[in-house]
């Protein structure tokens, strides 16, 4: 029964997290072992489920909460997409856990870290399995929380403190639209269950409005850090590197794309093309941003953004399967590269500036080698995993939307250019600092995951490979569509040439431009104007900063002052003061003079007499 197994898979990391939180807070090593064991267990269960003989599709749902019109179910939807995504999460996740054992070995808050990883696994799996929009949203928020918690791991640094906050809040902006979208969907379609929604959307295509699509897209924009909500991802690199690999490269940010794939039938054509454009733009924009970065992790982060743009473009072009394909391969090689960068950082004693590295290939051969495979894979080196998925996207773009295709092509060149820049400067040449000159190869817990992921990056795109074949079940439909689209073969031929040209130009160009192991940024030195112009591409951060400090906080301040002035001072104090002044006035009447007092009585008599005579009142 897949649902029982799915439930087991879901619960294992939760139990691990709870166990760590309750009993192992002080025992970091034990906590790490528990967490890794849980990851291993769930990975094993997942592999058994994916590659075993069980049914390929299942759907089961439990009532979790009911209030009037709103019933929230906890359900499991098991199909090809789920299987592929589960593989990515469980398998990559497991190796990242292993890597963390080494990377976080000396950390003082290991227990918190591994507890967080377990929580994350739980939440992420929840999104993967969810059979309805409500459940997706619940786990969507939970991954946001685990991401927050893990980014905040080095909370003593201001950078991390700011980054975690930013990540969560920017995500919330997206979620704002997302939650509205979900509610709108629910009230329009009458259900939140994905299977039912699919059936309904097919019957009533006119109900799938632009609004639904746009609002649901907001969630994707936030979680997958797409334009204009991309600002949080580079900052999120303040977290530990395994976290960046797991959450901010392989899985969580991809959850946005996965979600879109899940609800593809709710996105109509208009919104799809918008997503395609946004994705393409992001691919290009992130590439440009990456060019000027010095921090190894930030380069990778922008690269992630760019690749997510590719996925979005693929989805927008109407090929969700290809998007998922790219998601999978990207998970492999990007996790690989992040772990590689983690290895580098670990080796260089937490130095992250690439211009202070250099010459690491000799000192850290395994890292360098596997990282190289990653670079090649992302650049689209033939027969590596990235080649297949990227090629498919570009073909699709060529066939359906030429401008997008053009943008994506430029982005592809940029990708290989900045990846080349990263690789040449970091690994080749001579060490540029003490840190890098004393670098050593990392222990086995850290390089073994690199090797495994490198292997996956190599074979991940080959349908022919035994187990990989199972993953392709999810891509078949789209790939089939693409292969049978008009003009596919020509385009494919063209792309073989253009694609190769792209990675050759990129890698070669960057070598020529930057040289191996350069200690300073040649672009900045030789072409300061260009460099500055490119730096300007980062205008979003100042813009948002401006918004937060100059607009939002000022509004808050003004409203606060108004609150103090009008409500507290005028209404509350004012009315109290009025009564008090009234009291003082009446008090003055009691001046102790008997005659004045008798005047009161006379007044009373006069009034009463006048009333009796009918002069006053009726």
């Amino acid at each position: 029964m897949p649902d029982i197994q799915l439930a087991h898979i879901l619960v294992v990391p939760l139990i691990s997290a709870v166990f760590i939180a309750l009993f192992l807070r002080q025992k970091g090593t034990l906590a790490s072992l528990v967490s890794v064991a849980a990851a291993g267990l769930l990975c094993g269960l997942a592999l058994y489920l994916i590659f075993g003989d069980g049914p390929k599709a299942a759907h089961v749902s439990y009532r979790w909460m009911e209030l009037g019109a709103v019933t929230i179910n906890m359900g499991f939807l098991w199909d090809a997409n789920t299987a592929t995504m589960l593989f990515v999460v469980a398998f990559v996740g497991f190796w990242i856990h292993i890597f963390s054992l080494g990377y976080m070995h000396d950390d003082e808050a290991k227990a918190r870290f591994f507890g967080g990883l377990s929580i994350f696994m739980f939440s992420m799996l929840g999104i993967v399995f969810a059979d309805n929009l409500f459940m997706i949203f619940i786990f969507w928020e939970l991954v946001g929380f685990s991401s927050y918690m893990l980014i905040a791991h080095y909370h003593k640094t201001d950078e991390a403190a700011q980054a975690c906050k930013k990540a969560f809040i920017v995500n919330r902006v997206g979620d704002l639209g997302f939650v509205l979208g979900i509610i709108l969907t629910y009230w329009t379609m009458g259900t939140a269950n994905i299977t039912e929604l699919e059936a309904l959307a097919k019957v009533n295509p006119d109900k799938v409005t632009d609004t639904i699509g746009l609002l649901l897209m907001c969630g994707f924009l936030g979680k997958s850090a797409q334009f204009p909500l991309h600002v949080w991802l580079p900052d999120a690199m303040a977290g530990p590197t395994p976290v960046s690999a797991l959450i901010h490269a392989a899985t969580m940010v991809a959850a946005g794309v996965y979600f879109l794939i899940r609800v593809q039938f709710l996105i109509n054509a208009d919104v799809l093309s918008l997503i395609a454009w946004l994705g393409a733009a992001m691919a290009l924009y992130a590439g440009i941003c990456a060019l000027t970065q010095r921090d190894i992790k930030k380069i990778l982060a922008y690269s992630t953004l760019s690749q997510l743009g590719y996925m979005a473009a693929a989805f927008g072009l109407g090929y969700p399967g290809i998007a998922l394909f790219h998601l999978t391969t990207h998970a492999f090689f990007k996790a690989l590269m992040f772990l590689g960068s983690g290895s580098v950082i670990y080796g260089c004693h937490h130095e992250q500036d690439i211009f202070k590295m250099g010459g690491l290939a000799k000192k850290m051969p395994i890292t360098a080698g596997t990282f190289g495979i990653g670079v090649l894979a992302i650049s689209g080196f033939p027969m590596l995993s990235g080649f297949f998925s990227k090629d498919a996207i570009l073909v699709a773009a060529k066939l359906h939307n030429l401008p997008v295709f053009a943008i994506l092509m430029v982005a592809a060149v940029l990708t290989s250019f900045y990846m080349g820049r990263l690789y040449w400067i970091t690994f080749l040449g001579k060490p540029n600092s003490d840190h890098s000159s004393h670098a050593k190869e990392t222990p086995v817990t850290m390089w073994l995951p690199l090797v495994v992921l490198a292997a996956l990056s190599v074979v991940g795109g080959q349908e022919a490979v035994p187990y990989i074949k199972e993953l392709f079940n999810a891509f078949h439909h789209s790939l089939h569509d693409l292969h049978h689209a008009q003009g596919h073969d020509d385009a494919h031929q063209l792309l073989l040439i253009l694609g190769s040209a792209a990675w050759i130009i990129g890698l070669g160009g960057s070598y020529i431009f930057y040289r191996a192991g350069s200690a300073e940024d040649n672009l900045e030195k030789n072409h300061p104007l260009v460099y500055k112009a490119l730096k300007k591409a980062l205008f979003f951060d100042p813009l948002y900063n401006f918004y937060v400090t100059k607009v939002q906080d000022r509004i808050a301040l003004v409203i606060d002052v108004l609150d103090k002035l009008i409500v507290q001072a005028l209404l509350v104090r004012g009315s109290a003061g009025l009564v008090y002044i009234g009291g003082l006035c009446t008090r003055m009447l009691h001046n102790g003079n008997l005659q004045l007092y008798s005047f009161w009585i006379a007044l009373g008599i006069l009034v009463f007499g006048a009333v009796a005579l009918g002069w006053i009142g009726s």
Binding site: R25, W64, M65, E66, L67, G68, A69, V70, I72, A109, R112, F134, F137, I138, F139, E141, L142, F145, Y148, M149, A152, H155, K156, T157, D158, A160, A161, C164, K165, F168, I169, R172, V173, D175, L176, V179, L180, I183, L184, Y186, W187, T188, M189, G190, T191, N204, K207, Q552, D553, I555, A556, L557, I559, D560, D563, V567, Q568, L571, V572, A576
Partner: protein
């Protein structure tokens, strides 16, 4: 156990213990033990009642026998019982009561005997409010719990206590009196032979409905009276000031439990008995509640004092409850109840944790804090958990409440939902800002100097117990909402709130937005 005695016993125990503390006031240990009994037993009883909650066909369980205390001729009898809506709130009272009680017992106040005496009185009132079936006693117990609050703030409060206590007193008395007028109005408008017993009154009103104009007046009185008690815009200023000045355990009980009285009154009494009135006021209520959410949201963002922030934050979240009430639907009302329960626990926890922070830092001005997480990790973790709960993270009931309310509001207007939902963003902003300012980063210079002399310690055992107690129940409700939602669902439906699934609409008229709530009021009986 005799089910009809359970609730009166739970009400009487703290009261008796309170008078016990007066008798044994010379012996502080005995007083503390008495206080333990007075807080623990109601907790046990509330959990017992929660686990054994099987309502009969009237929707009530643990009904006690009506007792005429002298006002029987005016239709007022003392009777207790629990229904699906009051059960979770009763549990809330038991849980938060115990947590606050533990905090109070372990506080080192001067004149602790008197403090515990007042806390016990207050707790006894709380155990009475949600169990009362008679509307008069429901109000009566609220006041019984309210009065000690003023005294506690006045005597044991912080620097601003005099002003805060008096402002709070005046506001809350005004609100209580206006709502009392509303209750009286309800009684009078129901005509001769009416009773203030909720069950009987409902039947009575079904036979003798109140005119529309009367309903509007009476509901207006109840709404604004109770609204003041729940800090409806613009009568909220007492809340942050009062909570800022209140001693912690008192603030926990008041903000956590007692404040829910007003909302509970609207849900349990006002709206179901005066549907036309509720409908007439719904638009205005939504506007005010949105002000609560959005305007106060901005005000919260501007706060730099941690306790003020928590206080304003609770004002803001009450806006959601009001929105839920304004929808007059099972979903909205259910969401409001859910949110009340969850918010009650989370806000109590936040007040408690803010106090712990204050103990360790002396100052509460957030820009001057920082770096506490590395020194007191458990405190930090708990604070983050509480913040997350209050900003509506799934896994805590707050989320479920807010989510249901948004859903219910959708039937009213999409734009309202959009505006209301900005609240989740606003609360995230201020909540996380607070966390990062207080716990993350490096301590400020002033703080570092202070810590050199007096290094902060993490939570000790007796500090942890109430925190974990609250967290456990928050998670329990958040993780297994069916425990409470089924009861709420059943009873809100029984009260005649408007309920239909979106599917019903789409089948009939695919392109028409769900019907407006006013039609639902008349339609409601046919639905069930």
């Amino acid at each position: 156990m005799y089910p009809e005695t359970v609730l009166p016993v739970a009400f009487a125990i703290p009261l008796l213990c309170a008078f016990g503390t007066l008798i044994f006031r010379r012996d502080i240990e005995t007083v503390k033990n008495l206080a333990w009994i007075g807080f623990l037993l109601p907790f046990v009883i509330s959990v017992y009642a929660f686990l054994n909650f099987h309502p009969d066909e009237t929707g009530y369980a643990f009904l006690s026998n009506p007792v005429d205390t002298g006002l029987g001729q005016f239709g007022i009898h003392f009777q207790m019982g629990l229904n699906g809506i009051s059960m979770p709130l009763y549990l809330l009272a038991g849980v938060v009561g115990l947590a606050a009680g533990i905090v109070a017992i372990h506080s080192n106040f001067k004149r602790l005997q008197l403090y515990l005496f007042l806390m016990l009185i207050m707790h006894s009132g709380l155990m009475g409010i949600f169990a009362s079936i008679d509307i008069f006693y429901f109000y009566f117990f609220h006041e019984l719990a309210l009065i000690p609050t003023f005294i506690m703030i006045g005597i044991w409060g912080t620097h601003e206590r005099q002003v805060a206590a008096i402002e709070m007193t005046i506001y809350l008395t005004l609100g209580a009196l206006i709502s009392l007028l509303g209750i009286i109005g309800l009684y009078v408008a129901a005509g001769d032979g009416a009773s203030l017993n909720m069950i009987e009154l409902k039947e009575h009103l079904a036979a003798h409905p109140i005119g529309k104009a009367d309903q509007k007046t009476i509901y207006g009185l109840l709404l604004f009276g109770l609204g003041v008690l729940v800090s409806l815009f613009p009568t909220y200023t007492w809340a942050p000031r009062g909570y800022g000045a209140a001693p912690t355990s008192n603030a926990m009980l008041h903000a956590g439990v007692l404040k829910k009285f007003g909302m509970y009154g609207l849900i349990q009494v006002a709206a179901p008995l005066l549907p036309a009135g509720a409908d007439a006021w719904s638009g205005g209520l939504i506007t005010l509640a949105l002000c609560n959410v959005v305007l106060i949201g901005f005000v919260v963002m501007a706060q730099t004092d941690l306790k003020q922030m928590v206080g304003y934050g609770s004002v803001m979240h009450m806006g959601y409850c009001f929105l839920g009430v304004a929808t007059f639907s099972v979903t909205g009302i259910g969401g409001a109840v859910m949110l009340m329960v969850a918010h009650g626990m989370s806000v109590a926890l936040l007040f408690l944790l803010s106090n712990y922070v204050q103990k360790r830092t002396i100052i509460l001005d957030m820009p001057q804090l920082g770096g506490l997480a590395s020194r007191t990790p458990v405190l930090a973790a708990c604070f983050v958990a509480a913040t997350m709960a209050s900003i509506g993270l799934p896994g805590f009931g707050n989320f479920l409440g807010e989510f249901s309310i948004f859903n219910a509001l959708w039937q009213h207007s999409g734009w309202v939902v959009a505006l209301a939902a900005t609240g989740i963003l606003i609360s995230a902003i201020y909540g996380l800002r607070a966390v990062s300012k207080v716990f993350f980063g490096e301590p400020s210079k002033r703080l570092a100097e202070h810590w050199e002399k007096d290094a902060p310690k993490d939570l000790d055992t007796w500090e942890r117990v109430p925190v974990f107690l609250l967290l456990a129940f928050m998670l329990l409700i958040g993780m297994k909402p069916l425990l409470v939602s089924d009861g709420i669902n059943a009873h809100t439906k029984a009260l005649g709130y408007y309920s239909h699934k979106p599917g019903d609409v789409t089948l009939i008229a695919p392109n028409v937005a769900p019907v407006h709530s006013s039609q639902g009021i008349q339609a409601a009986p046919e639905h069930h």
